[in-house]
Subunit: 204 residues, 2 copies
Amino acid sequence: MNLSSERPSPRRRPSPPRRRRHGAVLEEALLEAAWEELLAVGYAAFTIDAVARRAGTSRPVIYRRWPHRAQLVLATLRAHAPSLRPDDFPDTGALRDDLLAGLRLWRDRSERIGPDVMSGLATELDHLPPDTLDASLGITREIVARAAARGEIGPRPIAAHVLVVPQAVLRHELLVRHHRPSDAELTRLVDDIALPLLRHAAGG
Amino acid sequence: MNLSSERPSPRRRPSPPRRRRHGAVLEEALLEAAWEELLAVGYAAFTIDAVARRAGTSRPVIYRRWPHRAQLVLATLRAHAPSLRPDDFPDTGALRDDLLAGLRLWRDRSERIGPDVMSGLATELDHLPPDTLDASLGITREIVARAAARGEIGPRPIAAHVLVVPQAVLRHELLVRHHRPSDAELTRLVDDIALPLLRHAAGG
DNA sequence: CAACTTTAGATGCATACCGTTTCTTGTGGC
DNA sequence: GCCACAAGAAACGGTATGCATCTAAAGTTG
């Protein structure tokens, strides 16, 4: 189109030439900006534009790396909120305390990330990548295995759909009800729901 | 601004003068259009623009009534997806069947509305209005009361946070996991989770 | 039924974000 | 020091938002 005339050359340079970042350095800066933006405005108001501005760059730089808003957010979470690992959960020596500690840890982590982020992701992605949700399953399994080894509960293996109940209820509370359970509520969750269920499923 | 000249008067009339709707008639037409749009494109792609077009009117007419997209959607849901009422749940004569029927009904209703609508609303509103969620509590309570009257379970009153577990798990499955439980899965939910919990809480 | 009030519906405007393309030029690799 | 790559700037065409302005049609009142 604009083949010939009409554009002398200016392509003006607005301000200081800004040292140009590259590779890992740039990527880190982008994720850092995205993280700050996420914390600042939440998921609903999170825009690629704003991240680019905050990082002092332009949209194409972001689009070259992540195709969607959701992907960028996911990458940001992975960089700044690594999944809880089994050894984050100390063995307290009692099933009840293990469960309680686990749920508390889990709640607090969710708080940092913000329910609306998880909720927004869940809305926009067809499936949340398994590691975002299912790490917790392994942890409950571990906690239960310890209890079984101690003889606190029966030895029967427990089906996944049962193991997952405590987290499902907690997550429901956080993501759907938008409510942060107090310690007292978590205790009731353990005493009235988790323990009866696990005991019943594990036998004896 | 354009005080004097510059606009003879045309303000063209594009097509047939269209009988002009008012008040309740118009409002109903708007909600109807919104409902169709919601079913057609889902929450994420739901726009005020499209609703106005579908209703054969213009955006201001909608904005005069509802300030936000979320509010319009809420009004639409209230108009077109009334909460399930206790008498939608037949008394099958057995707790297990009552629960199963209830969950199935509930799942199917959620399917009509679409997980993405609930999920989107949950993301955009600070709190879902309680009546969107909590009607179901009364229903479980009713089902349990019937069972207690039949002597199927003990007479101890059951705390709300326990009563709510089956729906919480189902809703978690639908809204967070984006998974529609099969009948078989619902059966496991009843047998492995709901019944043990309710029996334990109700005593005997 | 005429005057008046309300408001539906059309239109325009400023703003924002999207996703992409084009272009220049700084930078790191060789 | 040269070259390929990509950062960063800019613009484009699109869609949506929320608001303001104007008209004329409907409903209301005397």
